[in-house]
C-alpha cells in the first residue's frame, strides 16, 4: 500500500468568510473558492477544503465540536486503492466512488478517503546556506534574504489527531495501512510515516479524552527555516495569533511555528524535517517541554541597537 500522505484535509466550519480570509493570509491559494468555500492549495496542489458545517456535501461530523470532516490520503497508483479496498472491506463498509477513490472510516470514526495522489511534483531549491568548511550553497553575489522574498507553503506535511486510544489508532494505521512508527513521545503517542513517504511523520497521535477527539493541528512544509520565520512574522504583523514558536522540534528535527485558526485547530508552518527509511529504530522520550523542542523563541517587534543612549552628548 503505497500511501504518500495527506492530499487534502476537509473541514466543516462555522464561519466560511473568516476561514477564507485566514487560509488566504496563511499563504494558500484559493482554487475553486466561492462564498460556500472550496479548495486552498499549497504549491504542490495539496491543501485544505472548507465548507459551511451545514453543507450536505460534507462527510458527517465527529461527535465532538472538532471541525475536521475528512482526511484525504494520496496513494501512488490504482493498485494501491485496490489493496486498501480489499484490506479494509474485511471488517467495515468501504465505498468505491465514480472517480475510483475509496471512502471509509478508521477505528475511531475519523472519515478517510484514498485517491491516486493529485499532488504535483515540485522542482525548486531548498533554502541554501553557507558555512565554513563546506562548499558554498549560494554563489558569489547571491543574497539570502530580501524584504519581498517568497515564503509560500509548499506541501501539506502532516496532521495531528486527538484520539482516546493510542493502541487502536496505531493498530489501524500500522497494522492495516502499512504506516511505520518513527518515534514515540510517551504519554502522548507515536509519530507515523506511510510507506511511500520518507518524511519523519505525516501523522501523530495525542491521547485525550473522547470528547476532544479531532484534529489538534496540521502543518505545511516551507522551503527552510528562514521562509518559516518570514511567513510567520508576516502573519503576526497582519494580526494573526501565534500559539507556539518559532522553534525547532527534537523528534523530526523540523522547525515549527503554530497559530490559532478559525477552523478549531492549530495551523503550523514547518521546515527541514528529518527523512527516514526502514533501517531506522524508533526512539522514545517522555512527553514534555524538554522532549518537544531543542530551541524555542518568541517573536518580538523589530528593534536595533544603535548609537549613543538617548540624551548622551554627541
Amino acid at each position: 500500500m503505497n500511501i504518500i500522505g495527506p492530499d487534502y484535509l476537509v473541514f466543516g466550519v462555522d464561519d466560511v468568510a473568516a476561514s477564507i480570509e485566514y487560509l488566504t493570509a496563511f499563504g494558500l491559494k484559493p482554487v475553486d473558492v466561492t462564498d460556500k468555500g472550496g479548495l486552498f492549495e499549497a504549491l504542490d496542489g495539496t491543501g485544505i477544503i472548507i465548507r459551511h458545517k451545514s453543507d450536505p456535501t460534507l462527510p458527517p461530523p465527529l461527535p465532538t465540536s472538532n471541525m475536521l470532516r475528512q482526511q484525504v490520503y494520496g496513494v501512488r497508483a490504482n493498485e494501491d486503492l485496490d489493496a486498501i479496498e480489499a484490506e479494509l472491506s474485511k471488517d467495515r463498509r468501504v465505498t468505491r466512488l465514480a472517480d475510483g477513490s475509496v471512502e471509509t472510516k478508521d477505528d475511531h470514526g475519523f472519515e478517510l478517503k484514498f485517491q491516486v495522489s493529485k499532488r504535483r511534483e515540485l522542482n525548486m531549491p531548498a533554502e541554501k546556506i553557507n558555512a565554513p568548511g563546506a562548499p558554498a550553497q549560494r554563489k558569489p553575489n547571491e543574497i539570502g534574504v530580501w524584504e519581498e522574498m517568497p515564503a509560500a507553503p509548499r506541501s501539506l506535511s502532516h496532521v495531528v489527531l486527538f484520539v482516546p486510544d493510542i493502541e487502536i489508532a496505531t493498530n489501524f494505521y500500522c497494522g492495516r495501512l502499512g504506516f511505520v512508527i518513527t518515534d514515540v513521545l510517551k504519554g502522548a503517542g507515536p509519530f507515523l510515516r506511510p510507506k511511500a513517504n520518507d518524511d519523519h511523520h505525516t501523522l501523530f497521535f495525542i491521547r485525550t479524552p473522547e470528547y476532544m477527539k479531532g484534529c489538534e493541528h496540521l502543518a505545511f512544509h516551507m522551503g527552510g527555516p528562514t521562509e518559516l520565520m518570514v511567513a510567520g512574522t508576516r502573519f503576526v504583523k497582519k494580526g494573526y495569533q501565534s500559539f507556539w514558536g518559532p522553534g525547532r522540534h527534537k523528534f523530526g528535527s523540523n522547525w515549527f511555528w503554530y497559530f490559532n485558526s478559525p477552523l478549531g485547530c492549530h495551523f503550523e508552518y514547518d521546515a527541514d524535517m528529518d527523512k527516514h527509511d526502514d533501517e531506522w529504530i524508533a526512539r522514545e522520550a517522555p512527553m514534555g517541554a524538554e522532549a518537544s523542542q531543542i530551541v524555542l523563541f518568541e517573536m518580538r517587534e523589530k528593534w536595533a541597537p544603535g548609537g549613543p543612549p538617548p540624551g548622551a552628548k554627541p
Partner: protein, 121 residues
C-alpha cells in the same frame, strides 16, 4: 499598587462585539471586553485548557465563534458562555475564564484596576 488603566469608551463596544486590550500592567495576557444583552463583561484572554492560559483569538479582536453566541478559544475550539465565562464545550469543559472587574467613569470611559498579578484561572 493599584491604578486605573483606561480601555476605551463604553460606546465603542457594540452589542455582540468583543475587543482585546493590552497586555496591561499587572496582567500577563490581554483583557477581552464584550457586550452581551447590553452588559459589558471582561475576561482574561487565557484559555484554561493549559496551565497559565493561552491566547484565544485567531486574529486581533476575533474572540467569538462564527455564530457570535460564545467566546471561542481558537486553539482547540472551546466555547465559553459570554456572561459566566464557563466552558460549555471543548477540552476545558466546566472550567472558567478569569473575570476582570471593570469600572466606568461618569463620562462612560471604562477602566480596569491594575491590581497585583491576577489569580490563576
Amino acid at each position: 499598587m493599584t491604578s486605573a488603566q483606561p480601555l476605551c469608551h463604553a460606546d465603542e463596544i457594540a452589542e455582540g462585539e468583543a475587543r482585546g486590550f493590552g497586555p496591561l500592567e499587572g496582567y500577563r495576557r490581554k483583557i477581552v471586553v464584550l457586550r452581551h444583552n447590553g452588559t459589558l463583561h471582561a475576561w482574561l484572554d487565557a484559555c484554561p485548557h493549559y496551565p497559565g492560559g493561552t491566547p484565544m483569538a485567531w486574529k486581533t479582536d476575533a474572540y467569538l465563534n462564527g455564530e457570535k453566541t460564545h467566546i471561542a478559544c481558537h486553539s482547540h475550539g472551546a466555547l465559553f458562555d459570554m456572561e459566566t465565562g464557563e466552558c460549555v464545550l471543548g477540552p476545558c469543559l466546566g472550567q472558567q475564564l478569569t473575570r476582570i472587574a471593570l469600572t466606568m467613569s461618569d463620562e462612560g470611559e471604562i477602566f480596569v484596576t491594575a491590581a497585583q498579578e491576577e489569580k490563576r484561572a
